[in-house]
């Protein structure tokens, strides 16, 4: 008796669901899906969520304003996928997005995932804008649909290396990286620039993007007495690394790239964060043309910005604007408009060169003072005007 009742209830429920779903499909404006990929679990989950929120804020604002493309009202929807910062998973979720017929992709967060995924998007003809993949290779593969809204590591590594030698007067430098496409790439560029400026690399050590124990390698580094320790990698390693440097009585400053320049870094490093320096492509938030307004809108909704949320926001806005200009959400049709983009984003002017790299991206250096990132100086790009 009860069994039959349950079965009946089950069928009823299923029917109701189908009908509800059907109703949704047939009425209201057309829904266009935009993919967003970042690590939503694991050590970089806080950064991944930051990107996700940035893209979501953009979509909400666009939907609230209402967009008409090709004569029909269009609603946008974010389809967020978790690539766990893992290249293998990155390609799997990329295929998932292709199968879900997204019109464009914002992501991935990491270079290590963006590079293998870009082939899948390229084959499917789907344009992709990464908010934060900075490894030069990403745009050097000849894929017409791969863009980024951040200066790449060649530019960033050069600025960091020259700053370390000329401004911080470092003669002996130790380099550690996490063996990811991003960390290793940035460290290599940094090494080139630092050597070119006349410094000696006294030690080159490696870790992984999941480690928390750096005492063994830091002990080796300490034996070489460097003036500066450079880390190519993300904040979830750079934070504990700074803390462990302090407890090992290493006097050298920790220097890092954009992956380390987050609020989370200061939290994880504790008192060890003080005096650490990191660079980030782009202008400081308060100097960004739309920075103030963006910060207010973002923090009211999602809380503190980690690093890349404004870039994810700009990447999303850029995609939609290209669709509006082409008057189509068909990737093949709006791609040409995307390549011709010239607009004012919250992070600065957005225009791509023939490879898909951001034209004249500025790079800013920050230092932790009294538990906060303080702007040191901005190099390149429109920096001259904003200094």
């Amino acid at each position: 008796m009860t069994r039959r009742l349950l079965a009946a209830a089950g069928i009823g429920l299923a029917l109701a669901l189908v009908l509800a779903g059907y109703g949704k499909e047939s009425s209201g404006p057309k829904t266009i899906k935009i993919g967003q990929v970042s690590p939503l679990t694991g050590p970089q989950a806080h950064l991944g969520k930051d990107n996700d929120n940035g893209a979501r804020l953009a979509i909400e604002e666009i939907n609230a304003k209402g967009v008409t493309i090709g004569g029909a009202k269009v609603q946008f929807e974010i389809v967020s996928e978790d690539d766990q910062a893992d290249p293998k998973t990155g390609t799997i979720v990329a295929q998932k997005l292709v199968d879900a017929k997204v019109a464009g992709v914002v992501g991935h967060l990491n270079s290590g995932t963006s590079i293998p995924a870009s082939k899948i998007y390229h084959d499917a003809g789907i344009p992709q804008i990464s908010p934060s993949a900075t490894n030069p290779k990403y745009t050097q593969q000849g894929y017409k649909g791969a863009f980024r809204v951040m200066a790449n590591d060649v530019q960033q590594g050069k600025v960091l290396g020259e700053y370390a030698v000329t401004k911080l007067r470092a003669k002996k430098i130790a380099i550690i990286d996490d063996r990811t496409a991003y960390g290793q790439g940035l460290a290599d560029e940094f090494e080139k620039a630092a050597k070119g400026a006349g410094a000696t690399i006294v030690s080159r050590e490696y870790t992984s993007d999941k480690s928390t124990d750096f005492r063994a390698i830091l002990t080796n580094v300490r034996g070489k007495q460097p003036d500066i320790v450079f880390y190519g990698g993300m904040d979830s390693q750079a934070g504990p690394m700074a803390a462990q440097m302090k407890s090992l009585a290493i006097k050298a400053k920790l220097l890092g790239g954009d992956g380390a320049q987050s609020v989370e870094f200061i939290k994880l490093a504790g008192p060890g964060a003080e005096g650490s320096i990191a660079s980030s492509p782009g202008l400081p938030l308060d100097k960004m043309p739309g920075g103030k307004g963006f910060t207010d809108r973002f923090t009211a909704k999602y809380g503190q910005i980690q690093i890349y949320a404004p870039y994810a926001y700009d990447a999303t806005m850029t995609l939609v604007e290209a669709m509006q200009k082409a008057n189509s959400t068909e990737p093949a049709k709006y791609l040409a408009e995307l390549a011709k983009t010239s607009r004012q984003g919250v992070t600065g002017p957005i225009a791509f060169d023939d490879k898909g790299d951001l034209k004249s991206g500025p790079i800013t250096l920050y230092e932790v003072k009294a538990g906060k990132w303080v702007t040191l100086e901005t190099v390149g790009g429109g920096a001259a005007a904003s200094k």
Binding site: L40, T41, G42, P43, A45, H46, R179, R204, E205, Y206, T207, S208, S211, T212, D213, R215, A216, I217, T219, N220, R222, G223, S236, G239, P240, A243, Q244, K246, S247, L248, A249, E264, K267, L268, A269, G270, P271
Partner: protein, 309 residues
């Protein structure tokens, strides 16, 4: 020389933590012949509970002295882990005690996955920073740096291990544990309440795990929901290295493994001319595991089976 000394200190501190966790594996194996793969997760739960309590106490703005905050965090973690250990044994292992070993092993892995995901839901997916409660100003000893926390970890681990040895070899309960370990049925006939003894073993092991959890997260300044996995595997390796089921073996194995890892990660780069680097740190533990299993499966100090003869 100071590099060597520093790596040795790093290794001893890390090894003390491994030893505490390894004891949990070895105690359970000694009595049940079961590898409790959920043990690493108990360590993680201990760290997370302590972190939560400490954050609440710090955030309350109450001017509690630091040792009291630490003690309260420790007490809460131990209490929760003891209850958890008891519950795991009662729910997941006792019903399977007489089934094939493979069934119990699979349950153990299941419990481990369950705990990890539960922790992810409760505490979130991100890294949590563990507040530095003790002053971390390093003391210089012969060119090497050591701070109060590291000294405390080693001393506390030694004290706990001493206490455990005393408990097992000098008390009535310890005798009951050793008897159960040698032959549960005969021990039962002699009036030993086996169920209680096994439950107590789990509870004690879990308390050790709680302490280890706090140590490891305070040491690295970080806690997260999957921290127990790797730590558990390494502690298991340490237990096998010393001879699983053997208490002194777990302590020795833990210390040795810590030192091997530190020195290995420190010297692999220079020794191979940069061909292999310090990112191979995690390889050493498992290299040791394979070598021990191939060449001396009973471990350095022998399995507890030897006691039976």
């Amino acid at each position: 020389m100071d590099v060597f000394l520093q790596q040795l200190i790093n290794g001893i501190v890390l090894g003390s933590i491994y030893a505490l966790v390894a004891l949990g594996y070895t105690m359970v194996y000694g009595i049940l012949g079961l590898i409790n793969f959920a043990h690493g997760e108990v360590v993680m739960v201990g760290a997370m509970v302590a972190l939560t309590v400490i954050q609440v106490l710090l955030g309350a703005g109450s001017p509690l002295p630091v040792p009291l905050i630490l003690a309260l965090g420790l007490a809460a973690a131990i209490a929760v882990c003891m209850a958890l250990g008891f519950a795991i044994e009662r729910v997941a292992y006792r019903p399977l005690r007489n089934s094939p070993r493979l069934a119990a092993l699979i349950t153990a892995i299941g419990v481990s996955i369950l705990l990890q995901n539960a922790a992810m839901i409760i505490w979130g997916r991100q890294y949590h920073s563990f507040p530095a409660l003790l002053p971390d100003t390093p003391h210089q000893i012969g060119g090497a740096a050591i701070n109060d926390l590291q000294i405390l970890i080693v001393l506390l681990a030694c004290a706990i291990m001493g206490g455990l040895l005393f408990l097992v070899h000098r008390t009535r309960l310890g005798r009951a544990m050793r008897a159960t370990s040698q032959n549960p049925e005969v021990a039962g006939l002699m009036g030993v309440d086996i169920n209680t003894v096994i439950a107590v073993t789990f509870v004690i092991g879990s308390a050790l795990a709680a302490v280890a959890g706090i140590m490891v997260s305070a040491y690295y300044g970080i806690a997260h929901y999957f921290m127990g996995f790797m730590l558990g595997l390494k502690a298991f390796t340490a237990a096998v290295l010393g001879g699983i089921g053997n208490l002194a073996g777990a302590m020795l194995g833990g210390l040795l493994l810590g030192i091997i890892e530190s020195l290995g990660a420190g010297y692999i780069g220079p020794l191979t001319g940069g061909f292999l680097g310090s990112h191979y740190q995690d390889v050493f533990a498992f290299l040791v595991l394979i070598l021990v299993l191939v060449f001396r499966p009973s471990g350095l100090l022998g399995e507890r089976v030897a006691e039976r003869a």
